[in-house]
């Protein structure tokens, strides 16, 4: 240990490592205190455990800041900085270096986890759940801080301090999304640790009555909103850099972030059944345990290199460690749930099929099947390789799309039915009456789309279901407005939860339209352009290569083609980076539009810059995906707003049929 921490060799490295070790010590102590506090119902021990969280957060913050200072100050005596940063990088690249490689990204994860634990320690109620929620948080912290401080420490010293670092991964220098997407993703992934901790606390204490669900709803929604934003931000990132005009390729690591999203979405709906009716207790516990475990699985896939992916980090000793933690979570969750099985039995009667609960459960069913499908597709090549000893299968978009499209459409259908149905039970006739205008609107919209020349079954169905959803939400809102009177804003302020959910649903409809149209009607053409030659007609545009130039930067160079497309200049780049050798990283020029994007990538340059090969992609409604996501996140935020109480309302005398 002594030669690992040397202030002479590396002051910052030693400071970072010492603070990590101290954080680990506090985490161990805190875990012990929390467990004692829980077992003996000792309020003092629990209070001490709660305060130990502050120390852990402060110490992990200190080591994160230390690493950041080393990155910004080009202190190559710190191993992580020497291996993943360099002097010539612009400042923002140095900042993103913190999560640009394995050790730093785990440190960021631990830091965010400590931050969530800190917020949790401030908001926890004084009840029986408190020590065990803290203990479960500590179990997660113990793992991440432990990994950071030992096998994946960014601070291990170097035998020889280099004059300059090796620099960041070239693929991660290409776009500013590097500063956004990973952080959002971690905020989403790690955020699921809190509802997981509450579920564990509820299981351990046996207090499975519904208090924990109420508390975790906010946490889950926050994490879910971050996760949603992160996944789409990642899609946008690949749209802007990978150069094929797509945003989702069913890459294993993309899938790994999608599985927790599916499970968390299912959880967000099924906890409402528990909140309202006290049903589905064990189901909810299972869902959140699986959702949290799937974030660890995602990290394992990403870090271990067992799947072939454009995102994978180089393999290291952390793969098995993560696998161990994953197994621990699953086994511990299963054992706890089995132990508490008698308490998990629902008291009331199971829900009726024709009810809001029924619709939520059907949705849960589809979400779970979706998650299983993605998981099987992701792991299948690895499993076959493990059995046969050689890599013999690939699973590509054809497999995923074959299931994702019908499942997605099924979910869109249920999304329209759910809000129409009352809790407990609906009558078939009333439901049919309520559903009729929606179905008519959907059929009308699909026919209209058909008349406009749209022939794809998937697209037509999406258009129909979009209209069906929008009309449904519109009718419900209209009815509420009529019943309540007053303005729309007042209504929203009174029931932010309901209208937030509606807004999120509208956002999903907008996204679905964007996905359907941009997938079905994407056009792609390639051409080689000569500088100064006559314009070329391609797809619906006229292209002319105006000039090419090369820009030298300290960290690489950019070859730029300036192309006039229908008279508007596009500057598409082909970047090369010092670490990447000759490997070109395209930076396409994209003109965003409400109805479609024009997307230009250079694929090759002539040696003298006289010609450039370009690829022109036109895809309709791509930006609807980004705008739809903004609506979804806004809606999720709205559901977190505290409703404004109405003063002394007369009891609702009118018992209007709920399905109408």
């Amino acid at each position: 240990m002594l030669n690992l921490i040397s202030f002479d060799a590396s002051p910052l490295g030693a400071l970072g490592q010492l603070s990590l070790l101290a954080a680990l010590a506090f985490t161990l102590g805190g875990t012990w205190l929390a467990v004692v506090g829980g077992l003996k119902a000792d309020a003092r021990a629990t209070e001490a455990a709660r305060r130990a969280v502050w120390a852990v957060f402060a110490l992990v913050s200190l080591s994160t800041l230390t690493l950041m200072a080393a990155l910004l100050g080009d202190d190559f005596s710190v191993r992580y900085v020497a291996e993943h940063s360099m002097r010539a990088s612009p400042t923002w690249i140095k900042v993103t270096g913190l999560w640009g490689a394995l050790e730093g990204s785990i440190l960021l994860w631990a830091w965010i986890l400590a931050g969530y634990a800190f917020i949790l320690s401030l908001t926890l109620r004084r009840d029986a759940l408190r020590p065990w929620a803290l203990a479960a948080m500590y179990a997660s912290l113990l793992f991440f801080v432990g990994v950071c401080a030992t096998v994946a420490s960014p601070f291990t010293p170097l035998a020889q301090i280099p004059a300059d670092g090796r620099g960041p991964n070239p693929a991660l220098q290409n776009h500013w999304m590097m500063a956004v997407h990973p952080v959002l993703l971690y905020l989403g992934f790690v955020g699921l640790a809190v509802p997981f901790a509450y579920a564990v606390a509820a299981l351990v204490t046996g207090r499975l009555s519904d208090h924990w669900v109420v508390v975790t709803r906010r946490w889950t929604l926050t994490a879910w909103a971050f996760l949603t934003a992160a996944i789409v931000a990642g899609g946008w990132w690949s749209y802007e850099t990978l150069g094929w005009g797509g945003y989702w390729a069913w890459d294993p690591v993309e899938n790994a972030s999608f599985i927790p999203w599916l499970l968390a979405t299912a959880f967000l709906h099924s906890i409402q059944i528990q909140e309202r009716r006290g049903l589905m207790r064990s189901w909810n516990v299972w869902l959140i345990v699986l959702a949290y475990a799937s974030t660890v699985l995602g990290t394992f896939l990403n870090r271990s290199g067992i799947v072939q992916s454009v995102h994978a980090f180089a393999g290291g000793p952390v793969g098995p460690v993560f696998l161990g933690f994953l197994a621990f979570l699953l086994v511990a969750g299963t054992l706890l749930a089995a132990w508490r099985a008698p308490h998990l039995r629902d008291e009331g009667e199971p829900p009726a099929a024709l009810s809001r609960e029924g619709a939520f459960l059907a949705g849960n069913w589809l979400f779970l099947v979706f998650a299983v499908m993605v998981l099987v597709g992701t792991l299948f090549p690895t499993i076959v390789e493990a059995v046969q000893g050689r890599r013999d299968t690939s699973v590509g978009p054809a497999f995923y799309n074959a299931f994702a499209i019908p499942l997605g459409l099924g979910l869109l259908f249920l999304m329209g039915v759910g809000p129409l149905l009352p809790w407990r039970r609906a009558e078939g006739e009333g439901l049919w009456r309520a559903l009729r205008p929606l179905l008519l609107a959907g059929a009308g919209a699909a026919l209209l789309a058909y008349a406009f020349g749209i022939r794809g079954v998937g697209v037509l169905t999406t258009v129909g279901l979009a209209a069906y959803n929008l009309v449904g939400l519109g009718l419900l809102t209209g009815r509420a407005l009529r019943q309540r009177g007053g303005g729309f804003l007042g209504l929203v302020r009174e029931q932010p939860r309901r209208y937030g959910a509606y807004l999120a649903h509208i956002g999903l409809v907008v996204m679905a339209l964007g996905i359907a149209f941009s997938t079905a009607y994407r056009q792609d053409a390639q051409v080689t352009l000569n500088a100064g030659a006559a314009p070329v007609q391609l797809l619906h545009e006229t292209l002319a290569l105006e000039s090419t130039r090369v820009e030298q930067k300290p960290y690489g160079q950019s070859a730029i083609a300036r192309v006039q497309i229908d008279g508007r200049p596009f500057e598409a780049r082909l970047n090369t980076y010092l670490q990447g050798g000759d490997t070109p990283f395209p930076a396409p020029a994209v003109r965003y539009g409400l109805w479609g994007d024009t997307y230009l990538v250079v694929t090759a340059f002539g040696e003298d810059g006289r010609w450039a090969s370009v690829r022109l992609i036109e895809s309709p409604l791509v930006s609807w995906i980004w705008w739809g996501t903004a609506l979804v996140v806004l809606g999720a935020g709205l559901t977190l707003v505290t409703p404004r109480r109405t003063a002394a309302r007369a009891p609702a005398l009118r018992a209007a049929p709920a399905t109408d």
Partner: protein
């Protein structure tokens, strides 16, 4: 593969738009053997370009999709097939989501059917339109317990 050599000679014959679309669709399902998970339509390296040319030529020669896929599988291994065939181990892959759908549907059906007595349809409109208070709901549920289940 004499057929292929003769095809190379006549080079990339002009494809009809339908044939070009078919070639594109096949290319989407063929993995570039030397990259990480990119189909040959996206990858820009020489091997992918050659493979794509190969696909176009075979489409022009009128070979079926299955013939083209098995040609590439024989040459580069099953690894390049991004749309795994629905046979052998592939059946496990394609069957798993269907099994999950069936099993989940069965469990859900059983669960919903457990409800034996029909509860009278409660119109919860009043309750529904109140701003939802979980604690109030909990109290209501507890006070109502036993009465409502009957």
């Amino acid at each position: 593969m004499p057929l292929v050599f003769s095809l190379v000679l006549c080079s990339a014959a002009a494809l009809t738009p339908e044939q070009a679309a078919r070639a594109e669709a096949i290319g989407q399902n063929l993995r570039c053997p030397i990259c990480t998970g990119e189909p040959i339509t996206q990858s820009t390296n020489d091997l992918s370009r050659d493979m794509m040319r190969d696909v176009r030529e075979q489409v022009a020669a009128g070979r079926t999709d299955a013939e083209i896929y098995s040609y590439f599988a024989a040459r580069y291994g099953n690894f390049v097939l991004l749309n795994p065939p629905r046979e052998g181990v592939g059946l496990l892959l394609w069957g798993a989501p269907l099994a999950a759908l069936g099993a989940g549907g069965f469990v859900l059906w059983r669960f919903l059917r457990r409800r034996t007595t029909a509860t009278p349809a409660v119109t919860t409109a009043g309750e529904e339109d109140d701003p939802y208070d979980p604690y109030l709901a909990e109290v209501r549920r507890r006070t109502r317990q036993g009465g409502e289940g009957a």
